[in-house]
Symmetry: C2
Subunit: 303 residues, 2 copies
């Protein structure tokens, strides 16, 4: 009889480049994988995986089995979720994806506390600047995202409004003065967070009268880590554009001040995307609720 542990095992194999890689990701030795696979193939009297040189390839039978498995495994997982929900329990795996900066600084502490209150939870947090890639890479329940997102037809929930500010340190203002108008920016030192997927040097500004300007800036400093850029600004090296969540305390405490406060950039709201596969699980509901309570709180004090 087919065992679902075998189906899980095969599913893991099917998305691994080699048996050795699968062994590593399963935390066992290669022979364990090799002989377990051989055993399953023997039981079915079918070859499931072509393992010649190069990457693993599923045979037709293997592909068929994996395909059918996914449905069954999904149903079983959903069933487990529903039973846990009926027991009023927060338990089971909770796989969260978040961007590096926001994830490390905001999501991780909340998840950590949440897990502490629910000992039967098995949380995992994957930080990635490529959320769509991470989604495809492995199973996930909740993905936290900051900013605009292509329409993914995935259920999402807004966790907090998140404005974007132009900021600089007082020491910078003292040395170089402050721009009074977007046009003045060109004469200033600017730092940006340069990621692959966004045009970080084009700032779409909206003026106090509603007029819109696209400002192309020429950064003197760039980094793909927002915290590094923030530190650079804190050190008085220039003007940067950062999210409210990132610099809110700096602004409150006067370590940074807003530049062109009458001009605004489009919001980069914080949203949670929910995997449709698991939307109805109690643990996910509870965690997203927690996020939606705790994340906005941190920003409220600032007007």
């Amino acid at each position: 009889m087919i065992d679902i542990a075998d189906l899980r095992f095969l599913t893991a194999l099917s998305s691994a480049p080699s048996l050795a890689a699968a062994a590593r990701s399963l935390s066992v030795t290669p022979p364990a994988v090799s002989q377990r696979l051989a055993q399953i193939e023997d039981r079915l009297h079918l070859r499931l995986i072509e393992r010649g040189r190069g990457p693993l390839r599923l045979t037709a039978e293997g592909a068929f089995l994996i395909e059918r498995s996914s449905g069954i495994l999904g149903e079983l997982e959903t069933l487990a979720d529903e039973m846990a929900a009926r027991a009023g329990r927060i338990e089971g795996p909770l796989q969260v994806i978040a961007p590096f900066g926001f994830g490390r600084l905001r999501v991780a502490p909340i998840l950590s506390r949440f897990a502490g209150e629910n000992p039967e939870l098995s949380p995992s947090l994957v930080l990635s600047e490529d959320p769509l890639g991470a989604m495809r890479a492995g199973p996930w329940d909740v993905m936290i995202h900051v900013g605009r997102l292509p329409d993914l037809r995935i259920m999402q929930r807004k966790l907090a409004t998140n404005r974007r500010f132009l900021v600089a340190a007082p020491s910078y203002a003292a040395r170089f003065g402050l721009p009074q108008d977007p046009g003045d920016i060109a004469g200033h030192r600017v730092g940006v967070v340069r990621e692959d997927r966004a045009d970080a040097t084009l700032w779409p500004l909206t003026g106090p009268d509603g007029s819109e300007t696209s400002l192309r800036v020429h950064p003197v400093f760039a980094c793909n880590d927002g915290e590094v850029v923030r530190a650079w600004a804190l050190d008085g090296f220039g003007i940067v554009e950062r999210s409210e969540w990132s610099v809110f305390q700096d602004l409150r405490d006067g370590r940074l001040i807003r530049i062109l406060p009458d001009w605004s950039l489009p919001d980069a709201d914080i949203v949670a995307l929910l995997n449709p596969r698991a939307v109805r699980a109690a643990r996910i509901d509870a965690f997203v609720n927690r996020l939606s309570v705790e994340i906005p709180t941190a920003a409220i004090p600032l007007s």
Copy 2:
């Protein structure tokens, strides 16, 4: 995580009147059942089965779980069947239901041989005079039936034509003579197979010219086992109505002779009913094919 062995276990429990009864049908001791159930309930943090006095009762959660399980278990079983089919293998459980007489004398030997040729097959044969009850009682793949059947909307396959004859032993004919006309039967000794569900004493005869007569007989001997009635006829005690399959050899060898050979009774064809749940399994296909080859063969020699 939920284990499907647990789901099978719970499904077995759900159709048992008591834990002790379940233990017997699972071939284990009562504590094994009790503690395994307790363990599952602990894991889910839910009570699944109310066990007070009287019969077991599922709780709402238990009923929900069983309900959902059946779908998953069914899919898994179907998947196993399909994989076996792809491997071109005859294997797995094969659960056959057949009536007592025909099952014991005709189906059992064929199934026995079929299982011998396919060592990975786990056959089970349930003989029952109440096929519909047996269908409901447990899982089944193929049900053999002789005679008319209410329209069950179940896929069926005719295995053989099976006529019904009026027969008697030559010794009886020598002592009492033979009826030349249905009307003569009234003066003869008649034995019948009396089952609950059929009116065994009303013989719907069709004459050589196509005329139809319903003949009410008054048996001097009755039994619910066809073989006993046949033996009674072989011993020269009277005239009985029997299926071709049952008396074909007796007729061939002259131990019995046909009475009113120009008159016929409605056929009681031999059919296989296929459980829609498992129609596409290779082992079932193969077994029914085997039946449809071997069963008619036995009767062909007789005109």
